[in-house]
Amino acid sequence: MQKYNKLIFEVSKEGRTAYSLPKCDVDEAALDQMIPKEFINEEELDLPEVSEVDVVRHFTLLSNKNYGVDTGFYPLGSCTMKYNPKINEDVAALGGFAGIHPYQPQETAQGALQLMYELDKMLAEISGMERVSLQPAAGSHGELAGLMIIKAYHDDRKDYKRTKIIVPDSAHGTNPATVAVANFDMVEVKSDQNGAVDLNSLKEVLSDEIAGLMLTNPSTLGLFEENIKEIADLVHEAGGLLYYDGANMNAILGKSRPGDMGFDVMHFNLHKTFSTPHGGGGPGSGPVGVRSDLVKFLPVPVIEKKEDQYVLDYDRPDSIGKIKAFYGHFGVMVRAYAYILTMGKTGLTEVSEKAVLNANYIMNKLKKHYHLPIDQVCKHEFVLGGLAKSTLEVSTLDVAKRLLDYGYHPPSIYFPLIVEQAIMVEPTETENLQTIDGFIEVMIQIAKEADENPQILKNAPYDTPVRRIDEVKAARNPILKWKRSE
């Protein structure tokens, strides 16, 4: 394969075209008769001029510099990089889904509305929530909607002093950032030595100023929060609500439900648990689910069934309002809906069983070679604390970079913050034993290399399209767009 290192602007040659449009077939008027001259840009656009073949080659060669789930094993903790079924792409591209306008009359979009209505019900059943709004665009957006609902709940009860949200110190950065954006104060609660919420610390921070607690279960360490019932009772007794971050739902499908654990509000990540592609960074989809007395606060519109018609219901006076244009990432919903139908009730349960099995299997094989801070049964993922024989020289980053040479996407690194040199492994259920064994073997090999010849790791990777990149240079003198050399 050729070493390709061109920007499309460097491929561009004056006069080439890749587009074709029919001739304008209406009577044309002079442009300035329609639009005053002062509004018109007289300059040529600064866009490339390339042929269709140029575009095709360019993107094909660029795609070769990428690594996706279809390329190989992708055990990126907390991200659930499972296989993205191809049939889901086909059905999402059907004209009857991809080619419908958000404002077309509802009677001409009954199939779309039915799909959303049914997906709402399915997610509610899976989570033990009453209703689900599909509007949030991503997990973080779902969190924001969730905290807005919590705020609306307290305001509705005229309980205005509840200005604080509790977040565990192990949480992903998005949780505290959402607390800030939703204009709550944040109270951090410590984790105990097992990475679980420390009950005494929790009791200390609970008061009548607490609006809620954000939690993921299994925790960011991949461990089930065994005291969850007690945590829920404590928070509820103090008058707060419990928010479930659905990042780790792949561990509990058909096994246990956030609603039954005592959570009041939650978000799902359709792009994690329900197999929709991550798209190199998005689009995601982060539906928000609530218990029955919070349904009235859901963002508008909510899809209702009236007799045999599905309708968009905007007439909801207690709603937190609109948080996104139109109805959410419909195209993503189509894929998640198709996935749930494909898995069915037993398939979804098997997802979690095999995801948990794969994670435990790898953990047990690696714990001799890497530091395992908490040695107990994990759920769908686990966190290592760097190499077992910790040398000052070799860091988790080096291990990750060396994995690239062996053809694997590294696990998540340096997250959660409460584990030093963290390596977070999430294999998912869609990987077979041979792939997993291959990964284990390489991880052990790398541990050996670290011991015998650490320099190999320090300089890795070697066999990638580019090698280690100077991030300091990028941030000190940002070059964020291409400039024509003079």
Binding site: C24, N84, I87, G111, A137, H278, G281, I323, I469, A475
Partner: protein, 446 residues
């Protein structure tokens, strides 16, 4: 056994033995009994691929789509032509099955596409920096307002009533959280009422938000708005249709501090409202206040050009509670599609799309208002959308059009009660003379 879950009974047995467990159940003993779901999920049986395909085809068949209808509906989601190569290239699975490019050595494809996207969006908007995209136009606008509030430390946002109603609603939901007041500037003759705007802008104004072309398709006179805003040291935020930038002056040239908008019309399908992509571009001065991911150019240890996510110290995973936005994802795949679209249309093509949209929309306006039954609502220069009104109820008009296989206009009365029978029609380069003539004929006899 499910086709997406490969490990067999034999594999499972081997794996369990290796860790000294008897059954998979053993691995779930940490979930307290009373929290276990002791029944099957109330969902259907697993569907085979054939059954699924049929079910989805039937369901999609209950919708009327662009395959069935000729679309004159716009209002923020547009039926522009999408070249065939967009789907062939964007749906290479190395792009769409990848995660966020946190491991840059094996993500140069995604990163370079973002860099090219940033280059072209800067050039189109006439701005100095842009992020890698956001959820949609409406949330991008709310994020821009937040930037303005943080930057100016002022607590008031002024938005024109000619800005898309949904964008204003989302803006209000976001600003309410920060206790920032959102004041709407009145409209006159289909454009922002400059005299009213003058009375609103003051030393509490963080930003003034104007859509251009506005919700009614009309090109606003931005020079006076820019002047009023900057005289009061507020930020000038422009919400724009990127296709219009094929022909209109850039917001950068007009003095905008932040440019946002909905990028769907750049190679993305209508998808019943999403996923689309919001864009946000700004000046070098405000660069570090910009939310969202950004790709930057650097070098690897061998001195080769390489791209990497940069300026990450702004973002939620580092700033945590100190972050000013909680956004994590960008609309990666949608931005890939937008990039392929812009490259394919190129220097001449995008201008041609904009020109044909103007010609065809003006032809349509002329044909529709030829007879006396429909009148223009406003007499102002417009881009690809225009508003008309008649004695007839606009929903009745749309019903008649639908019977003829035409997806009619946006009913303005829903958001602007004073325009009870108003219809906002959109004509892109995709519409033919024949289709426009038919639209006019059907409307004439209603």
């Amino acid at each position: 056994m499910h086709r997406y879950i490969p490990n067999t009974e034999a594999d499972v047995k081997l794996m369990l033995e290796s860790m000294g467990a008897k059954s998979i159940e053993d691995l779930f003993q940490d979930i307290p009994k009373e929290l276990r779901l002791n029944r099957e999920l109330n969902l259907g049986e697993s569907l085979s691929e054939m059954e699924l395909a049929k079910h989805m085809k039937d369901l999609s068949g209950k919708n009327k789509s662009l395959d069935d209808l000729v679309c004159f509906l716009g209002a923020g989601a547009y039926d522009h032509y999408i070249p065939s190569i967009v789907k062939h290239l964007a749906f290479r699975s190395e792009f769409y099955t990848a995660y966020t490019p946190y491991q840059p050595e094996i993500s140069q494809g995604t990163l370079q596409v973002i860099f090219e996207y940033q280059t072209m969006m800067c050039s189109l908007t006439g701005m100095e920096a842009t992020n890698a995209s956001m959820y949609d136009g409406a949330t991008a606008c709310a994020e821009a307002a937040t930037m303005a509030v943080e930057n100016t430390k002022r607590k008031s946002i002024i938005v024109s009533k000619t800005v898309h109603p949904e964008v204003r609603k989302v803006l209000k939901s976001y600003m309410k959280l920060r206790k920032v007041e959102v004041i709407e500037a009145d409209m006159a003759e289909g454009v922002t009422d400059i005299d009213h705007l003058k009375t609103l802008v003051g030393k509490n104004t963080a930003a003034v938000i104007i859509q251009n072309p506005n919700f009614f398709g009309i090109i606003e006179d931005l020079s006076s708005v820019e002047k009023i805003t900057h005289e009061n040291k507020g930020l000038f935020i422009n919400y724009v249709d990127p296709i219009s930038l094929g022909i209109l002056k850039t917001p950068g040239e007009l003095g905008a501090d932040i440019v946002v908008g909905e990028g769907q019309s750049l190679g993305n399908h209508l998808n019943y409202g999403g996923p689309y992509l919001g864009f946000l571009a700004t000046t070098s001065k405000l660069l570090r206040k910009m939310p969202g991911r950004i790709a930057g150019q650097s070098e690897d240890v061998d001195g080769n050009r390489a791209f990497v996510l940069t300026l990450q110290a702004r973002e939620q995973h580092i700033r945590r509670y100190r972050a000013s936005s909680n956004i994590c994802s960008n609309q990666g795949l949608n931005a890939v599609m937008a990039t392929i679209y812009l490259i394919t249309m190129g220097k001449k093509g995008l201008r041609e799309v904009a020109k044909q949209s103007i010609q065809k929309s003006h032809y349509a306006m002329q044909q529709i208002t030829k007879s006396s039954s429909f009148k223009p609502l406003f007499n102002k220069p417009f881009f690809k959308e225009f508003a008309v009104t008649s004695e007839a109820d606009s929903s009745k008009v749309n019903q008649e059009l639908l019977k003829q296989g035409i997806l009619g206009g946006y009913e303005l009365g829903k958001d602007y009660p004073e325009m009870k029978n108003g219809l906002l029609l959109c004509v892109t380069e995709k519409r033919t003379k024949e289709e426009i003539d038919k639209l006019a004929q059907v409307m004439e006899v209603i």
